[in-house]
Amino acid sequence: MRKLTLSFAALLLGLSLTIGPALAQPAVNLTFRFNDTEEQPMRAALDQFQQQNPGIKVELQRIGWRDARDQYLREAAVGQGPDVVHMAQVWVKEMGQAGALLSLNDLMKKSPLPNGFDDFVAQDLAQDKQGVIFGLPWTTDTWAMVYRTDVLKAAGITQLPDTWAELHDASAQITKRTGKAGFGFPAGGSASGAIWFLANYYWWSNGKALVVQKPDGSYGMNLTAADIAESMHYFKSFITEGHNPTSNLSASDAHDPAILQALVAGTQGIGTMPPNTYKQVLESYAAANPGKPLPFVSGPFPKGSVTRTSNIGGRMLGINVNSKHPAEAWKLVKYLATEPIFTKYYTTQFPAQRSLLKKVDFGTEMKGFAEQLGYARTWGPYSDGPAPIGAMWNATGRAFSAALSGQRSEKDAADELLQAMSKLMQTRGQ
């Protein structure tokens, strides 16, 4: 009898040891696909979320921005993909309309946001015309100019350039007087290319735009081939005159290591980038030169004939239409938009809530970004018009890259871009 009792006890112990942990496994496994480089702090933020929600485990997936959109669309179309997806603000509407994102309206009703959806910027990019919300604006930013103060001083430049012509002259002066690169911008044409932003800022500041809404509500282009060729000529001059190294023709991203390294090392005087990239530059410089004051200053974009401008950009979070756990995914999305995420973990980004933005201390080096935010505009007709922003972005990048590298003449490249645009406007991207 004792033997039997002992056997039974051993069996129970064995079962509890094997089945127990299995039963204690989190009931819900979520996947969050994150496209930025801050993997470690984001993992720490997710660990905190898991502690607060013991029933939910979050796997963090990393992917580069360049492949993020098409990879996700392919997966979502066949019932796969992460539960929570990280997107550029301008992708959300087309991805939602493609049936890849879950509508957030019901989730918001059931579990409302602390300050409501109205607290968020870029709402126009998050929802379609029927009011279906596909994404929650997560971060916001705008690009600004970045200067190495010591390089400017060595070149005898005492004031930040105020116009596009002054920017060109300052860039030339840096190279002439110091032998260093002047305005080093990424001039490549890959899918996430930065030249798209520079081209648009240049056009907008001169009262032009690739897409405008006409008084009758229809959409059209407000650029001629000559306008495009002129802008290509302007940016090409930095390369042909040697202020922007030719190697930047194969750099497409604002965070291209060669450009960031040149700014940190002081071999380049001027750059342009979003704030998170700028913060990385500041951190890299501080790490390499402990105790030294930061020789950087940010400033607004140069003025054109009409204004100075940039775009209000940023990222959003969405929930996969195929997610088996939308309620838990929404819980994660809401958590990621809370204040501690931006103050403790994801510190290179600015929150997209107006209430949180008011609390941000931009500091001396970031003042230019704060100033530029006042001039920034939304994508407006670009986002509402018939051509997908992604397709226009790619076409513009390729045309500029072809012109700037000398593959095509500025006129031919401008004509090709106009043809591509006109096709996109007619056919909704096909």
Binding site: R74, S247, A391
Partner: protein, 300 residues
């Protein structure tokens, strides 16, 4: 006789089934997509029938000649020719008495395998760093030797971008050719060269009339296989240049990728894929018509 045929058919059926499932079905599906305007943003809805519009647009488009030239001349002809020539040279060197005499033969044979064992992605990253316009070692050496005054942007300058890509391809793939030719070289009976030498044949004559004819079957097969692998190749160009600057290094494989996953035009991209498959089919016909029968004959 009839039973024998049935038996053969039954034995072949699984292979045919696999071929139909994994080759025929995707090909037909791709053909069907190529006749539509399917977009990655409309995958769930499907595409509309556009007939041969995608083919017409590609073949009559301004980039068709440029892409075809890049694919055929730069990517395939040049890199295959260099691979075969350098591979032959390396095989002859590895088989030479000089290396054996200085006892470097084994080390050289092992060293030659290093590029082959390097995955293409790693090879491209290594070469991109070495050829970097700002911090690359190649530019540092060229500057120190006084060959250039300013760094060369190898992947951005139109004059150097293709030679740079071809260099990576050849570096990464030449060992296969070298090792294969070395194996063939070692199968040539020594007596032939000894007899020729006794008859007064010079080294060049021995190579021209003994070595080369022996190597020709291997060279032919390797050349054709190299053409297949290279013509189809996407990895090297995409990773090295992203088909740029502009579209300067765009080839058929990268055009398929760009149209499908950058511009989201799956229908158009499928049409480019079908054109590419047709060109490959021509190579296939050449192989089966002229080379396969002789190989079959040799093996019997």
């Amino acid at each position: 006789m009839r039973g024998e045929r049935l038996f053969i058919a039954l034995m072949l059926a699984p292979a045919f089934l696999v071929l139909a499932l994994f080759y025929l079905y995707p090909t037909l599906q791709n053909l069907a997509i190529s006749l539509t305007d399917l977009s990655l943003l409309r995958l769930k809805v499907g595409g509309n029938w556009v007939g041969l519009d995608n083919y017409r647009e590609f073949v009559t488009g301004p980039d068709f000649g440029h892409i075809l030239f890049n694919t055929v001349v730069w990517l395939t002809l040049l890199s295959v020719a260099l691979r075969m020539l350098i591979g032959l040279g390396m095989a002859l060197l590895l088989d030479s008495r000089v290396l054996k005499r200085v006892r470097l033969s084994t080390i050289a044979k092992l060293a030659i395998l290093v590029p082959w064992a390097t995955p293409p992605i790693v090879a491209v990253v290594i070469w991109r760093w070495m050829l970097d316009g700002q911090n690359g070692i190649v530019n540092a050496v060229l500057k120190n030797l006084g060959i250039v005054d300013h760094p060369v942007a190898f992947f951005a300058d139109l004059r150097t971008v293709w030679p740079s890509v071809v260099t990576i391809i050849v570096w990464n793939t030449v060992p296969l050719v070298a090792v294969s030719l070395l194996a063939s070289l070692q199968s040539i009976p020594d007596e032939l060269n000894e007899a020729a030498a006794l008859d007064g044949a010079a080294r060049w004559q021995q190579f021209r009339y003994i070595t080369l004819p022996f190597l020709m079957p291997t060279i032919t097969v390797l050349t054709l296989m190299s053409v297949f692998w290279t013509f189809n190749n996407f990895v090297y160009v995409w990773l090295a240049t992203g088909a740029g600057p502009g579209t300067y290094t765009n080839v058929l494989a990268t055009e398929i990728y760009i149209k499908a996953f950058v511009d989201f035009r799956l229908g158009y991209s499928s049409a480019v894929g079908m054109v590419m498959a047709l060109v490959m089919a021509v190579f296939g016909i050449v192989y089966y018509r002229f080379l396969a029968p002789s190989e079959l004959k040799d093996s019997l």
